[in-house]
Amino acid sequence: MSRDEIKDVLLEIIADIDEEADFASLDADAPLRDQLDLDSMDFLDIVMELRKRYKLQIPEDEYPQLATLTSCVNYLEPKLQNV
């Protein structure tokens, strides 16, 4: 998957979790949780959805690497290169 494709997948997953998510003014380098007012339960859903779709196991101590949209893409790019 390309970086753009990964980004689209992430936004699609978030939109599916939160029907009110507004991406219009999303800053890719600022924390997702603050900008979208998500909580740890929503965050778990992003991780679970990635696991369901791509059989991707993300250990809890690596969750901080999913803080921003850019850091998510950086983290997922090598893991999804063959998808």
Binding site: D16, I17, D37, D39, D45, M48, R51
Partner: protein, 458 residues
């Protein structure tokens, strides 16, 4: 490999919500319900073509769509249900009545403050400070038990107002007698006085159908008429359950929503079960009266919490029923509901499980009839007479509640001692629902969700 990754005992709100979470992320999940209908404590039954709800007076925790961190909106996201396709009807307004003193409140939290300013002007500044102290509390942080009564007394120094505020919060969510844990008080204060009451469009049947449909769409399985006889264990783990008909089902993880005492009995969990038997149970009487009569009784109110007597005595009564305090609910009185004729009046009072349980079969009917009358007469002193216009009436007691829900001693709010983590002596057996500690319809569902998130999904 086990037949199921997750087995859930109980198809009530916590069980179904737990099931939706697990099934949504691909776990092979089965819910086992003993009854022929879902819902547990918040279900319904049919009598003479009428649908009667068992638990619901109102849902608490009303929140507008934008408030993302509000429990109600978190619930919708976690269950993957669209708020936009859901009908909300807010309360018209409610009242707390203590021997001639009255406080009206609604979903606008400023109403209660204004009511206190009118009725108890000497206490309104202290009430504002109380609200600030409540706002500063984190009821979900692990903390030892603290007395809500003492907290209220320190802030308000006004015993009557303290009791008036406690009554709705205790009746709608306190398993303990006399006092309440501060954390639980804060959760209930926010749920009732700051967020407020609403009900979904339709009846409890449509609401439960929606949840069960969501669960099944994610691939979850649900079996009715399937009472569990035992939770099978092997050393430090549970391996599955045995049904009353003898069938054995294996599972990686078991989640029990049957309460701590019942889960102890099913699993052979060593300990004193009576310690976890809740003492607060209730009798409810549902009367149907022509709509024209009901309107003059309700006078624009959705729920009336009443109390006659010196101090609020929240405990199991000595007698069958204590009609000196209780709740009168007009379930048709939510904004935007289609007119219902006849309309319902629900009266709820605390009841003694041992008294009702000890009755011989032939005595139960006449005693129930007598106390049904007593409950209605007590409510007439608050809202006006309606006995002559009743077209249909039914009531249920702690014994009925225990039979249909397996909640020991009919304790609708479960054990006074909660297990917040959901953990049991077995590494893969968890509890959710009433005895985990989040109460009410929204709370029960968040309980199921939380336990699955913490122990099953990660």
């Amino acid at each position: 490999m086990a037949a199921y990754q997750l087995l859930i005992i109980g198809g009530g709100l916590s069980g179904i919500a737990a099931g939706i979470r697990a099934a949504r992320f691909g776990l092979k999940t089965l819910i086992l319900e003993q009854h022929t209908l879902p819902g547990g404590l918040n279900s319904y039954y049919l009598r003479q073509g009428r649908l009667l709800e068992t638990g619901l007076h109102a849902m608490t925790n009303f929140a507008p769509p934008g408030a993302k961190q509000a429990p109600l909106n978190r619930l919708f996201r976690q269950l993957h249900l669209s708020r936009k396709r859901f009908e909300f009807h807010e309360q018209l307004g409610s009242e707390i009545r203590f021997a001639g003193r009255s406080l009206r409140f609604g979903n606008d939290s400023a109403l209660l403050e204004a009511a206190i300013d009118r009725e108890f002007p000497e206490a309104v500044d202290r009430f504002r400070q109380l609200k600030e102290a409540i706002a500063a509390c984190d009821p979900f942080a692990a903390a030892p038990w603290r007395s809500a009564r003492q907290f209220l007394a320190e802030h308000l120094r006004h015993p009557l107002l303290e009791d008036m505020l406690l009554l709705p919060l205790m009746i709608y969510g306190n398993a303990e007698e006399h006092d309440m844990d501060l954390g639980q008080f804060v959760i209930m204060f926010r749920a009732v006085f700051e967020e407020g009451f609403f009900r979904p469009g339709g009846t409890m049947r449509e609401f439960l159908d929606l949840l069960v449909r969501q669960y099944r769409e994610f691939g979850g399985e649900l079996r009715y008429r399937s009472p569990v006889a035992a939770i099978e264990t092997d050393g430090e783990r549970v391996v599955g359950v045995r049904l009353e008909d003898g069938e054995v089902l294996s599972a990686d993880t078991v989640l029990s929503t049957a309460g701590i005492p019942e889960t102890m009995r099913l699993s052979g969990w060593q300990g004193d079960r009576t310690r976890y038997a809740g003492r607060m149970s209730f009798m409810e009487t549902i009367s149907f009266v022509p709509r024209a009569n009901a309107a003059s009784l309700a006078q624009g109110r959705t729920i009336v919490f009443y109390h006659n007597g010196p101090r609020l005595d929240y405990r199991r009564p000595e007698d069958y029923l204590d009609t000196s305090w209780g709740v009168i609910c007009f379930p048709g009185n939510f904004s935007g509901l289609p007119p219902e004729d006849p309309a319902q009046i629900r009266v709820t009072n605390t009841a003694s499980y041992p008294r009702w349980h000890g009755l011989a079969a032939e005595a139960y009917g006449p005693v129930k009839e007598r106390w049904t009358q007593a409950a209605v007469i007590a409510s007439e002193e608050i809202v006006g007479n309606y006995r002559p216009s009743i077209v249909y009436q039914d009531s249920f007691t702690p014994v009925t509640i225990e039979r249909f829900t397996r909640k020991a001693e009919g304790a609708v709010y479960g054990s006074g001692i909660k297990i917040r983590t959901g953990a049991t002596p077995w590494a893969n057996l968890f509890i959710a629902g009433t005895d985990q500690g989040y109460l009410g319809i929204v709370g029960a569902m968040l309980s199921g969700i939380t336990i699955v998130n913490q122990h099953v999904l990660r």
